[in-house]
Symmetry: C2
């Protein structure tokens, strides 16, 4: 049988945490290996990277690397995106960039398909993938915005270390091993304190305010700033009040968010639950009797954002119809999957350059011809 | 030299996580071993428990066990408190009860000494120690309440497993060891999932909604209900809006709380920082440039509640004088120490039955005669 014809999909930063997840999802969708181009820095070029049951050669990222590709998913840093994304567009690719480089650019759509997928294809061939925390937050809240409007969001996060890359997973495991077996500890400084490599604070059995830089004037850190600015842009609500506190926890994968949302129009609990149950990309995990709610373990390597602990703010009295404005919930999503790789693939599907497949099914998946 | 004279202090539940912490603090204060009576259930009676460089015999808790004691610190469950605290009062003790048994009783003062220490001694000989999460929250916010008034509290917690007792620490360590070394895993079920003993959810590299029972109607869990009811009672503000989400994290010791507080009177950042810096029982850890803020590691085995990430809600515009109502901060406190054992000892000090000593100094400490 001749190899399946059709254009390639380029994955920039294929050896990183998000790049590997993109490969995992493409492989699970049955995309033939010869149609996936794994691009990375010169340092990784020449190695090979797992793709389903086979290996893909890692090719150096250069301006010429996008020839023949219909889609380029950038899973690299902002500088790499600034350097190479415009060229990929010129080479004919639909570019989905997972970095922060273009997210707030007024000409670039910032897209969560369940929220504002209608922007895809309207303007330009470069689409920005939002920050993982923003994607999970807005996927969870979109049904409430559509049904009742949203005026304000208070959110405290419990973010997995892998959001800081693969090296952070090693750091968590190494420091945890040392803490459990101090007699053979290898990652500490002479005084016995763990010697952080990725994070400034020890991460084993510890939590800490998010590792992004803190603005000296506002006190807001980089992650919180992304959530605020991106939520306002995606929902097209420049006056949305967003009050985030972003925190790392010793979890390998999947971010959790404790959310209180203030609705425009008060709603009953039945109406809130009804809206969430019908929400795209959401799975309800909410068993009060069993005390079973979303957790990172339940969300890991899953497509949907898990939503639970749905309850009214106990501090607000209902109106005479039993309706309230403020609702609390916990959302949990795999930040490497829906928070990054899956969202990017969904964008390519919406754009018509990758055929939509059922979520989490390993069915055949083909690239359509480049538009 | 004859043994130091004077009445005893009884510690009920001496073998538990909080009881051990009470012993640690009494020993560090130089209280002679013969003046400490370690009480526990019949199961533990006859064993011995560390007290400084020596061991204390563990004595069975009976109605007669309080004879000659000036103070009884109950670090046991609510049923034990209901069964034995009234008798301890009748035996002449000042009773400080760490359980939830009497906290909401209208005749029983519920005390955080930095907040409402003036209630001690006014009424009765039984004083309730608040829930650990409440103590840390109100210690952090009390300076703001005094200076500006507080109208509402939004709080998401990151609670250490040891709040569920010593067995929960073993569970976290065992499950973590298994996760790192699956080839020698001993605490899993046949399908490889960890087999929880204390918590319904796996706790290694995972987080989960607090393990207390969830009210089927309101959706509020037991821990959150305590925070709401106790904060209102301690501050004597029945209409205070408290919106908590309580969550467990894989941390051995010290609870963290991401707080947004709404003030009655708007304030500038300088005024907010000034108030917090002068707060009793608080230590400010707030270095934006170094991204150094409160963490459980920094708070573990420390007396003060650490407060940092002090910043205005980025969603609120300041008034013409630069003042705002809503302020965000992170508080972190050792829930076995200030959240339980230390708070109880402070109450005994305020009552005059234990001489106040400098915090965290190992100076001599004597019981005054029973009042």
């Amino acid at each position: 049988m001749p190899p399946e014809p059709g254009p390639c999909i380029a994955v920039v930063g294929a050896t990183g945490a998000v790049g590997r997840e993109v490969l995992t999802l493409l492989s699970a969708r049955g995309l033939a290996p010869h149609r996936v181009r794994a691009l990375a820095s010169a340092r990784s070029a020449g190695t090979a990277i797992p793709y389903g049951d086979t290996l893909l050669p890692v090719v150096e990222l250069t301006a010429d690397a996008f020839r023949g590709c219909a889609v380029a998913i950038f899973a690299a840093d902002a500088q790499t995106a600034r350097d190479f994304a415009p060229g990929a567009v010129d080479a004919g690719c639909l570019v989905v960039d997972n970095s922060s480089a273009f997210r707030l650019h007024p000409e670039v759509p910032l897209v969560v398909p369940e929220v504002n997928g209608e922007l895809i294809g309207r303007r330009g061939r470069l689409i920005a993938n939002p920050n993982c925390t923003t994607i999970i937050l807005l996927t969870a809240l979109e049904p409430l915005r559509r049904a009742f409007g949203v005026r304000a969001i208070d959110v405290a996060t419990y973010q997995a270390v892998s959001g800081a890359g693969l090296a952070a997973i090693d750091e968590l495991h190494d420091q945890t091993r040392d803490a459990l077996h101090p007699e053979t500890a290898r990652n500490g400084s002479p005084n016995g304190e763990p010697k952080p490599r990725v994070f400034a604070e020890p991460c084993a059995f510890n939590i800490f305010s998010h590792d992004s830089a803190v603005d000296p004037d506002s006190g807001v850190n980089g992650e919180e700033r992304k959530v605020i600015d991106e939520a306002r842009k995606i929902w097209n609500q420049p006056d949305l009040r967003v009050t985030p506190t972003c925190v790392r926890v010793p979890v390998v994968r999947a971010h959790t968010e404790a959310i209180t949302v203030t609705l425009d129009t008060p709603a009953t609990e039945a109406a809130v639950r009804g809206a969430l149950a019908g929400g795209a990309g959401i799975e309800i995990v909410d068993d009060r009797a069993a005390n079973s709610f979303p957790t990172p373990r339940k969300a890991t390597e899953r497509d949907p954002v898990l939503v639970g602990r749905i309850r009214p703010d106990p501090g607000e009295r209902p109106d005479e119809h039993g309706r309230r404005r403020r609702w609390c919930l916990i959302a949990c999503g795999d930040q490497l999957r829906k928070g990054a790789a899956l969202n990017a693939i969904q964008i390519a599907e919406h754009a018509g350059v990758l055929q939509p497949g059922p979520r989490q099914a390993a069915g055949a998946q083909t690239l359509t011809a480049a538009v």
